[in-house]
Amino acid sequence: ATTLTMSSWVSPTHFLTPEVFQPWIEDVKRVTEGRVDVRILPKPVGAPAQHWELARKGVADITWGNFTYEPDRFKAVWFSEMPFIGTKAEASSVALWETYEKYLAGKPAFEGVVMLGVGLFGGGQIHHGSKNIVEPDDLKNQKVRMGGPIQKRLLEDLGAVAVAGPGPKAYELLESGVVDASLHTIESVINFRVEDKLKHHTIVPGGFYDASFFVVINEGKWNKLSEADRKAIMSVSGEKLSRLWGQRFDAQNKAGEAKLRAEGHVFNAPSKALFERIGAVRERMLADWAAEGPSFGVDKPMEMLEFFEQRYKAHAGK
């Protein structure tokens, strides 16, 4: 039997471990009839942003992470983190997997590993400690924690002060007044334990932004598995793992919203003006991104985006 090591940078109690990774590991064990097992290391073997490299270099066999933790390297997937990309995580995660397969697999940026699954988290939203964010000017001069190039540009266009910081640091940043607001999924407001600090939520239809994730395995290690095992593992990975990822985020976001509403938090919708403003930033960012297509090896970036959106609609049942 082969035991693959997995490095994960969220705590073993974070829902991803029991609800996504453990069931997937069980599936792997089952379909390989026990020939392949996965051991999650007791501690991550690198910083979150290093997790792609950790797998590529074989430090851990399997890792997961956020594509844009390395801001420029995976520019090809930036489209999936844009506003309005869709709040149904299951649909968007599966659509991202299909888009990856069709347009991105085999591109130089993705070499050295085998993609086991991708995922989106169903729309990040704006969460403020004390203020309702409804109009375009409401975010002016507000300090907002964020974690990626797209979020930064959105916030700056709205006149907010972007403060870079990883999600798990949100508590400390809010507590010490470094920021007034923070960008998260609803689920993260609870899972990063900042629900006492963030009581005003602005839910942008389609999402204010999103975050794209990968689950990868070192290519060398993958090739050492027997063909039967590779096939078996792929039967519970790929679209299936991406779907599981999205489903769990959908469930967490739904439960999170119910909990926060029950606790009396304020939920807002953006005004038409704010919504249009976000849409205008989206168009500009997409145009800039598409112009860079050759640099990240995609000839027709907008066609890739259209394909994604069409797949999303199909899965979301619209």
Binding site: L41, K43, V59
Partner: protein, 430 residues
């Protein structure tokens, strides 16, 4: 598991054979990871581990706190503190020792290192105690023990490094250290009072001071008070993060000493280069410790030991006691920084498996290593004193320390049995 165990042994042997700790850790980890995971993995982990540590904002706290302590030590703010404490406590029997202890606690409140506290106080307080006829044993033991308060009362380099190794909130660790630190101070004061009662020849009475003298001495304390209020107040009042507290403290200490004309260009240069050098030393060791932590993770040593403990029938509390014994034993032969760097990555998964609070355990670890700093045969605080006061006999210092060590063990037991001593303030802060 075997590789992990052999590596642990190899690190200890190499370290004792005078291989710089950083390189003992780095070379053994490289070898160990090479054996477990292959040479390519070991090699690629070197730059990844180093850049993970060096591009980490939390770690930037280390040089800035060291800088603040160095500024205070070099510019004589600590002398003022001692004078003020002495104006009030001097007339009591054993008063000079009492004020030394209070000054140690106060100084350590703004200085991250207990060795620095001991070194500074031996220059500030020892001459006065000798002048008034204190015995070498009591005078030096007071300073050595007082110095250990430095790594508990925040800010504390040891707590910071613990926080970084275990990914525990450093601000919470600092706040958790306050009550146990004050408890330590109180118990030490009781020890001095008792010693002065039992053998008065060791601790004569000081001179009486007038109210005017007291008030005058108090005036020297304001820079220190300002810094303390800024740091602890800022942390507790959530004005800034622990890292920022370090930068603010260092900046304010710099401004204060310049405004008061206490710092020449030479001092400035000296303080900064010294701080940088110390930081580089700490970083190098940290690189090694972080790589070693990865080896332990790969080799499954932590899980192996946990299983061993479970098979031996040690419950959660038996495990804690076993771990503490390991720390105390290592503390006899190693300094506290080395112990924390080597052992904390090993034991933390075990503690987590038993559901222990990592903030609480951090305080316990610090108290244990504090005790290690003053227990024979090796106690770094004692050696610092010996280096600055060459004529005092080692035996005398250790003899003087006996009652302090005894009361420390009592405090350790209290902290282990009643976690709320450490955690109540943190809970209140949340």
């Amino acid at each position: 598991m075997t590789v992990g165990l052999l590596s642990l042994l190899a690190v200890l042997v190499l370290a004792f054979l005078r291989v710089p700790l950083a390189f003992a850790l780095l070379s053994v980890s490289l070898g160990g990871i090479g054996v477990v995971m292959g040479w390519d993995v070991a090699r690629s982990l070197v730059p990844m581990t180093i850049s993970e540590a060096v591009f980490s904002y939390e770690l930037a706290v280390v040089p800035m706190f060291i800088l603040m302590g160095n500024i205070l030590a070099r510019t004589g703010i600590s002398d003022d503190l001692f004078r003020a404490a002495n104006a009030f406590l001097g007339p009591v029997r054993g008063g000079l020792a009492l004020s030394t202890m209070v000054t140690c606690a106060g100084f350590s409140a703004v200085c991250g290192s207990s060795l620095a506290t001991a070194a500074t106080m031996s220059k500030v307080a020892y001459p006065s105690m000798k002048r008034y006829g204190y015995s070498d044993a009591l005078a030096s033991a007071t300073i050595a023990a007082g110095g250990t308060l430095g790594i508990l009362i925040p800010p504390s380099i040891i707590l910071m490094i613990y926080g970084i190794l275990t990914q525990t909130n450093i601000g919470h660790l600092f706040v958790a250290g306050v009550v146990p630190g004050l408890l330590g101070l109180l118990m030490y004061l009781l020890v001095i009072y008792a010693v002065a009662r039992i053998s008065p020849q060791d601790a004569p009475r000081g001179e009486r001071t007038t109210m005017a003298e007291k008030l005058h001495a108090l005036r020297g304390v304001w820079p220190f008070t300002l810094l303390f209020v800024l740091i602890i107040g800022g942390l507790y009042g959530k004005l800034f993060t622990a890292t920022e507290a370090a930068g603010m403290g260092a900046g304010l200490a710099l401004i204060l000493s310049m405004v008061q004309g206490r710092m020449s260009w030479q001092d400035f240069r000296h303080i900064f280069i010294e701080t940088a050098t110390t930081s580089v030393m700490l970083y190098s060791v940290l690189f090694g410790a972080l790589l070693f932590a990865k080896l332990i993770s790969f080799s499954g040593l932590g899980e192996g030991i946990l299983e061993l403990f479970n098979q031996a029938g040690l419950g959660p509390w038996g495990t804690i006691v076993a771990i503490l014994v390991v720390f105390l034993l290592l503390g006899c032969v190693m300094d506290s920084l080395a112990i924390i760097l080597i052992c904390v990555p090993l034991f933390v998964p075990i503690l987590l498996a038993h559901g222990f609070d990592l903030v609480w355990f951090g305080i316990i670890v610090v108290v244990v290593t504090e005790i290690a700093l003053i227990t024979p045969p090796i106690g770094m605080n004692v050696f610092v004193l010996k280096a600055t006061l060459p004529h005092v006999r080692l035996g005398a210092i250790f003899r003087g320390l006996t009652p302090f060590i005894a009361i420390d063990l009592v405090r350790l037991a209290l902290l282990v049995i009643f976690p709320s001593i450490s955690l109540a303030l943190v809970a209140f802060m949340k």
